[in-house]
């Protein structure tokens, strides 16, 4: 199941030459990337929450219909795509290549649905007059923050969908291992995790009553 390289990494730290974290270098590398990317998003969200609290005239442009219904649906879709990714990783560990690829395609479909709904949300706001530097409701900071944070997240979703496509194709053809699927899963769950902060902080803090 594991190749020679992973086998060495799984040896005890005290038996010499092993990894203290008992995992392959790809997985460890992804964890390090996730920590650094967490700091990128943290910086954006810390700046956002600061601006949100310090500006009493922060715009509240999200009515129940469509913005909150859309963004809640997007959240559930993204969470569901995390569950299908869990199923893909489980299937890959059973060496069930067909099921793995199908679950990964389901995950990609979730990601694409999320992006479709999100872009509709974006165009809706743009039609109402929101741009990066200006909006009709209040402090002009809103546009920069909203499009900056959600755009950064959507870029991650897009990269995630492409990444899933590459790994699913390669794994289906026997070129990638179960570890590659698992590392891909870590990235996808991270994108989901970030949205768990973006959705409440950006949308639910600016609900139009």
């Amino acid at each position: 199941m594991h190749d020679v390289h992973t086998e060495t990494a799984l040896d005890s730290a005290w038996s010499g030459g092993g990894s203290p974290f008992a995992m392959g270098s790809k997985k460890l590398g992804m964890w390090l990337f996730i920590v650094s990317d967490t700091l990128t998003f943290s910086a954006l969200l810390v700046v956002y929450t600061y601006s949100r609290i310090m500006n009493p005239d922060w715009p509240k442009p999200f009515p129940m219909n469509p913005a909150i219904i859309f963004s809640t649906t997007m959240t559930v879709v993204l969470l569901a795509s995390s569950l299908t990714m869990v199923m893909a990783v489980m299937a890959s560990q059973r060496n069930d290549r067909k099921a793995t690829v199908l679950w990964m395609i389901a995950t990609m479909a979730g990601g694409l649905t999320f992006m479709g709904l999100h872009l509709r949300e974006w165009f809706h706001l743009i039609e109402e007059g929101a741009t990066i530097t200006h909006n009709p409701w209040g402090t002009p900071l809103f546009g920069a923050v909203f499009f900056g944070v959600t755009g950064m997240h959507m870029t991650h979703v897009l990269i995630g969908v492409i990444y899933l496509g590459i790994v699913a194709t390669g794994y289906g053809r026997g070129k990638f291992s179960a570890e590659d699927v698992e590392v891909n899963g870590l990235y996808w769950h991270f994108v989901d995790l970030v949205w768990m902060f973006v959705f409440p902080l950006i949308y639910l803090m600016s609900v139009k009553y």
């Binding site: 920590v35 967490t38 929450t49 600061y50 609290i53 969470l79 489980m90």
Partner: protein, 106 residues
């Protein structure tokens, strides 16, 4: 062979547990949307939402990213350093935020 046994069982929770975690995540999301319509003070709302988001993040990392089933040394290596870095970022903003409070209440 003990390493093999460990590698075999290191791969996390059952489908049922993952499904339960997913239902929990959707339920917390529902609670957040409900709270959004309670018209709370922004600072109170922000605190509650960040708290709930941290719970969701912990659930995703522990089960979906199976950090719970990795060696604990990995958690010790990654998480405290990350929290420290985020706190350093916050430090800058807290100083700024407190100095601006008198301006806000004019």
């Amino acid at each position: 062979m003990s390493t093999h046994a460990h590698a075999g069982e290191a791969h996390g929770a059952s489908v049922g547990t993952n499904l339960a975690i997913w239902i929990g995540l959707v339920a917390i999301t529902g609670l957040e949307v409900f709270l959004a319509y309670e018209e709370l003070q922004p600072k109170v709302m922000l605190t509650i939402l960040i708290g709930l988001s941290l719970v969701k993040a912990a659930m995703i990392m522990s089960y979906f990213m199976h950090l719970k089933f990795e060696k604990f040394s990995l958690v010790l290596w990654l998480i405290p350093a990350m929290i420290f870095c985020i706190l350093v970022m916050m430090l800058v903003f807290f100083t700024e935020a407190f100095s601006s409070f008198p301006l806000m209440h004019h």
